[in-house]
Subunit: 664 residues, 2 copies
Amino acid sequence: MEGVDHLAHERKTAQFDVEAMKVVWAGSKHELDLSDRMARLVASDPVFRKDNRTMLDRKELFKNTLKKAAHAWKRMHELRLTEEEAGKMRFFIDEPAYVDLHWGMFVPAIKGQGTEEQQKKWLPLAYKMQIIGCYAQTELGHGSNVQGLETTATFDPNTDEFIIHSPTLTSSKWWPGGLGKVSTHAVVYARLITDGKDYGIHGFIVQLRSLDDHSPLPGITVGDIGDKFGSGAYNSMDNGVLRFDHVRIPRDQLLMRLSQVTREGKYVQSDVPRQLLYGTMVFVRQTIVADASRALSRASCIATRYSAVRRQFGAQDGGPETAVLDYKTQQNRLFPLIASAYAFRFVGEWLKSLYTDVTQRLQANDFSTLAEAHACTAGLKSLTTSVTADGIEECRKLCGGHGYLSSSGLPELFAVYIPACTYEGDNVVLLLQVARFLMKTVSQLTTGKKPVGTTAYMGNIEHLMQCRCAVKTADDWLNPCAIQEAFEARAVRMAVNCAQNVSKAPSQEEGFFSLSADLVEAAVAHCQLIVVTKFIEKVQRGNVGDGVKEQLQVLCNIYALNLLHKHLGDFLVTGTITPKQGALVSEQLRSLYSKLRPNAVALVDAFNYTDHYLGSVLGRYDGNVYPALYEQAWKDPLNESDVPDGYAEYLRPVLKQQVRLARL
Amino acid sequence: MEGVDHLAHERKTAQFDVEAMKVVWAGSKHELDLSDRMARLVASDPVFRKDNRTMLDRKELFKNTLKKAAHAWKRMHELRLTEEEAGKMRFFIDEPAYVDLHWGMFVPAIKGQGTEEQQKKWLPLAYKMQIIGCYAQTELGHGSNVQGLETTATFDPNTDEFIIHSPTLTSSKWWPGGLGKVSTHAVVYARLITDGKDYGIHGFIVQLRSLDDHSPLPGITVGDIGDKFGSGAYNSMDNGVLRFDHVRIPRDQLLMRLSQVTREGKYVQSDVPRQLLYGTMVFVRQTIVADASRALSRASCIATRYSAVRRQFGAQDGGPETAVLDYKTQQNRLFPLIASAYAFRFVGEWLKSLYTDVTQRLQANDFSTLAEAHACTAGLKSLTTSVTADGIEECRKLCGGHGYLSSSGLPELFAVYIPACTYEGDNVVLLLQVARFLMKTVSQLTTGKKPVGTTAYMGNIEHLMQCRCAVKTADDWLNPCAIQEAFEARAVRMAVNCAQNVSKAPSQEEGFFSLSADLVEAAVAHCQLIVVTKFIEKVQRGNVGDGVKEQLQVLCNIYALNLLHKHLGDFLVTGTITPKQGALVSEQLRSLYSKLRPNAVALVDAFNYTDHYLGSVLGRYDGNVYPALYEQAWKDPLNESDVPDGYAEYLRPVLKQQVRLARL
């Protein structure tokens, strides 16, 4: 079967230049080449194989991850990879590991919160991995609410040291990745106490393990927090637990860019603006949005290819059955997910430029867009990760029974992805932050303060509160202006509605508390508008290749109109559109799905994923699914023998009616 | 901490008699006592421990399952358990195992499709487990569409045998539970061919393994299909693959109740009505609905208790933080799931009576309600399993980060539950069957044929097409008649709408095909109406204990109004309610959540689940969560040593800058 392409007929029907779309997806020719090169490098190296991950027990899996990380480090040096290349290589290795936290949290924390002197001391060690670090913030009893952390760092002026201590069980550090078994150091967040006063949460560099033999230092209890969702998945990561019993560290291991403690124990704030910290948050959340588009595109690629291979029902005159991709119920669930993957890709790209903009402004002491940028990234993080988590599971269901096999790749993709809904801000908590910002924006509209950035549309409130949607035919819904206006009107009306209801409460806080479910819905409406807007802008920006723009147009319309259909209640209850116009949405969606159908496989090919990265028997590029499934099955440890372990003790006595006598 | 009840204050605020509610939930005092007894029996037996499941590798897990099954079989005999007791015991052992298929599919298939003679021969062997059987229907390339199966059973008149054969790779039997490693026999579905003619799919009893040494018989290739979603979960089951190479079986192993092949090879149909098979389907789906309520109640019990323990934000003046159960966003997601668990429990109870009714009618050759009962069970299977699968994952998210730990029990509950969305009819395929039935019912309304059972409301079409909802205040939504009418009007209008659109298509089949996404939505509306109706009936049926009826009333209203809010678009687009009335729904929901709040913990206590059955550190009855989480963590194999396996090979060289020299 070598060389067969079972999806060739699907690829022939594509109406656009797939290579050009690959560039659009990657962001640039440079990005595409880089990704392509690194993906192939990883795929061709047997140390990086993934197909046995779900069969390894915890210890084997973890050891294997250590091996991959060390091998990657070695290869990066041998090949003299640039920082950019090394990052991509880690990405395609596609396995949660301590290095993620070292490079993604420990190093940035020192860069962002350390003084120049501290950076000079610690960063070279970290860059060479002579020390390995993690980020120890959350505690057993404390997650989202950082201000509730209990760990203390009490300054002892006698010895010029901080005493790090875990006063309660619930103050045990809990969850930090890389902490359980690997990290030699951590940035630990603790309540800074000096001269009897609690100055709140600050970061400290604390050494955890001996650099000689890796054993935990005195006063430190550290371990892994145990098995997590799924097989494989995040179990390659040593999320850890950490307790301090009066551990002493030098005073200069407080990260001191924003505040210092003097030799005498005096707490001093520096004049560095604290807003700088928000810049980091914008950066991190931007990468999470980019990850969402990758995970969702991966899942929808698997589901699309397999749906083109798999046939069910509809055989006429003994001919082949119908490919499930031809069923409207399949298109109706799958195509909006492909469209969402593209939508998130483009909004992620835009967020990158937003981050650059924010950074430049911060350097110029311009904080005017910071709150808006912060709300925007919080909202988009929440929206894209929630949709992606649900979307991966939907893709699994779209693969029927076989999606439940680990070899489909989807169970592990789901299990490894879902923490994104919780880390870096619980998705609901984030939406409430967005809602708070929206309420503030609404309240300031009357004061003449102009809303900026993604809330600029609210400046048009008078029009949006009373405009009527002009759509008369299903084709009118192809007009981006009609879509844009409908999403803006819905968002502003829901926000204003909430603001009015909140204002009826005895106090704003009470109103906010009791109406939080409605506020979350208003925040979602606002975030969806952002994604729709950025997608429309992307489509309009230019002609990039044969038929590419037309495909993006179809995807953009599917993305927007599917949302409109799903949240029809919002649009109707706010009077944004009429029931008749709502029915026309469904009609137009049917037509859009038919337009997408011949391009479906090519659109997921444009993600340019190797079979190694996809890690799915069902998503194979060549569509040769069934022999691969069959082959994979025999590799299960249970198939090592025909007669299973335990037959003699636990099956034979049952079959031979001797169970009553057996010692079980 | 022994004996502490951290949730005592929550239990004190309950406004109803929990013991009385336990009886309501169980169905009767007898059921409650039975469940209670069996649950405790299992919980107190160390062989049945579950807390290490997710740490075992596949072979250990599977062997452990064999052990549990044998031990259970032994205990059932020692204690002389009745069939009812034994079934409950298996249920509380709570681990997918080959016995499920033996008792749940193999034995019933012989009972339902075998002649009296065949039953006499095979059932005693099966009852004593001298043979162990499974149900081999689905194939590698064929799932939902039974008519597409490829395995052949060709009659050879020379030897009076059938030749069972797998002509292609895709005809390999694939998925049957208990097949991979255990079953000695299977009911195999294959195309019956005699005298050169294909008579379609029939069931055959085929021996797979030697009763002497358990090795596969000649011509039979059999094994496990490999790792599945999650750790633990369904990996305790040996879902199998099976290929036949011209395997011969005696003619009398065709299950012959409905059709026979004579000695000469003539195919003969018996006069037993084929509709009898539908009775079995109604039975099986009824049990799936009951399972849905159990799984959802279990997940919501865990999430509710932990939400009462867990505190986040809102600390004032250094006091404790606010229990997350007090947050409206938490209530708004969790309380409808508690309500759904109750709703599914009651609709499942009603389905049991429907099954009895159908069976009695079938015995009297009355097939008048069969199609309706079939559609109804198909729809309820689809609705309840979909909501439950999503609901378990929602409960996991409601537990924050800790829900991602295996020790929370929720990952495994999700992984083990989700196949219910696919087996016994893919949920979307089932909804399309319901839709077909609805379209038929609508088309017959003009012919004067009266709709029966759960479609009876359609007889009231004239009123329902033009009635206006009378709700004027939020409290008017507490009126069950208003709710009932709104759900009926929405369902009938969506069905009629679809019927009209289908009729515009060139052919009915084309219309059905192109509008299938709309048809699915109409089917969902119909199924939700059934659940709402049965819940309302249950509430009205009687006063069963102090405050119990009031609580059921609140739950029923939450169930219905939350659906109304979620599907507001349906209600508005069909003109069933006005935007203003839609807004009143949200208002009433807020008030209902406040009413439920003080009873939340008691309402999940009423499920009467032991800590063993719940299998969750977060869901502990005593709420003593954090010490238990902490203790559980240290049991992970990674914590067997301070310095992890692999340190010398893969970490030390990195830290010591020797990676370039290391052999990795």
